[in-house]
Symmetry: C2
Subunit: 339 residues, 2 copies
Amino acid sequence: MRVRLEDVAREAGVSPKTVSRVLNDEANVKDDTRQRVLAAMEAMDYHPHPSARSLAGNRSFVVAMLYDNNDNPTSSYLAEIQDGVLEACDEYHYSMMVRPLRMGGSDFIQRIDTLISRHHPDGVVLTPPITDYAPLLKRLGERGVPYASVSPVKRRGCIGVTMDERQAARAMVEHLIGLGHRRIAHVLGIANHGASRWRLAGYRDALAAAGLPEDPELVVQGGFTFGSGVAAARQLLSLGKRKRPTAVFAANDDMAAGVMWVAGEYGLKMPRDLSVCGFDDTPLASQLWPALTTVRQPSREMGRLAALQVLDSLRGRGPGRLVEVPYSLELRDSTAAAP
Amino acid sequence: MRVRLEDVAREAGVSPKTVSRVLNDEANVKDDTRQRVLAAMEAMDYHPHPSARSLAGNRSFVVAMLYDNNDNPTSSYLAEIQDGVLEACDEYHYSMMVRPLRMGGSDFIQRIDTLISRHHPDGVVLTPPITDYAPLLKRLGERGVPYASVSPVKRRGCIGVTMDERQAARAMVEHLIGLGHRRIAHVLGIANHGASRWRLAGYRDALAAAGLPEDPELVVQGGFTFGSGVAAARQLLSLGKRKRPTAVFAANDDMAAGVMWVAGEYGLKMPRDLSVCGFDDTPLASQLWPALTTVRQPSREMGRLAALQVLDSLRGRGPGRLVEVPYSLELRDSTAAAP
DNA sequence: TTGAAAGCGCTAACAT
DNA sequence: ATGTTAGCGCTTTCAA
């Protein structure tokens, strides 16, 4: 038979309401009483019934993680964020719900409405690139659902987590410059993703700070996939020995792998003939040979922190903030002194 | 204000219980009445309160998807399965919960118990490689939670989805044999995963059927990662021109990519000098250059079908079955006639 | 085929 | 600091 709150109350010699208070970390419970109740819960292996709590308390104890499955980032990136969100939810005894959304789909708003009507999430976590999709934010606002974003582009009045990607990209490129590289190429990500813009901006910052000119031929379009890295690299390496870059900074690891692939085809040894670096530090980066120099983005932690922001705001622990996590440069074997 | 079942009942001119019957697809409702009720629901944009249903009906409307995050498969594989499970849950108006589990962890059982006590999933979907983890199956049985498996190893009395991986692997290798290859290598996956065993068995079947001897030097250990494919390929290609394979069948796409990588280092052009093929048809396969010949595994559909098996069994639509989905060979550009 | 009453396990509002 | 009462929105049981 199921142990109910009432049973715990009887065991601890208090009223049900007091047990409820303890359960919800409310004030106005003598510490002594609280301990007795907690002990009784423990002893009886009590687990509150989530539906009963939800029904009576008018909240769902659900956090929904929304992501784009149209042109989404690497699945390992989303998987890590998801893990982090889940971890935070577990800490707070919330459950997590995941929802793929097709940005720009005609049924977009309706799908959000269905999600809200059907599951009543207490809060939402938004992941790139839908962190700035206006119709979404608008609808969430209208329906009064608080949300936190992972790496939002517009940061004003926004809660969630960011990393200084621009600064990280700059540091990465400065590393290359420090190794003596002068012709440094950049492979762009998908056009209007925040990540693409920041990484390009950081690339430019570094060049400018070093007084190096930006050569438009060295900045080529990519699309965050391995295949797009391959295409970009062909473009770069076919420039001819003089104009060819000695280093390539790709906007993510998958594209960097594509670049390395093509370098091999051209008979270039890395890092001797060509330095390559990426961004994100996905599992692939450390598997490649030579191991890829990249920027580590703590995706899992970012997911966790974003979720904690909504959860804290739900529990009235302040309005929630926009926290910044540090990047780190993973200097591995794919970058070396310029030839 | 929220529209409740009672409101719908009033609107349709019936009792709440009748609306409840319609909601739950129960018998004993005149078709005419049913239509009236459905119309009222539609008109009022009624959404039943999941917690109220769950509390009163003593079921959670939750399906939990369990996966291993210790030595798990490629994240894109799990992500696809997850999408499929979610799709099935949506169809049945269930919600999906995801739970990473660390196979062999000391707190394994406790984590399952916590999941069950806290969320009361009505059903569970198991993904490789935890589909056959005995302590898990035992505990689920004890707690009376029905489950379905994706690609379980032991199939007796099991419900879920399978694909004939052995036959698929055999067909893949027969394709190579048909191209004139005689020295065909195989890169193994993680030792005791079902996938590794089936794919090896299929490889052997094909060799045996063609009367080709199995050369132990051509079967090398891998671990499903790109990096392990790289290591395996070095071992194979350093065998010397005579003993070296002319084709490599890797147990998954990531390892195949690693093999292709090393082939480039050895100055081998694919598919002219070396044919390479993989298994799974992950996004990477079609991005590689040359595009990878591989076995397509309909992971998303498999997730969906597995979830449907549990869901159907929950709704009393029979006991649930073990369904088999077809594989298909994706013949692309990485395989060609033997040199 | 339909309905009335009771109650699932918890919390809100209001006592004390 | 703690208790009492009345529901939350649905399904169950039983009756009609």
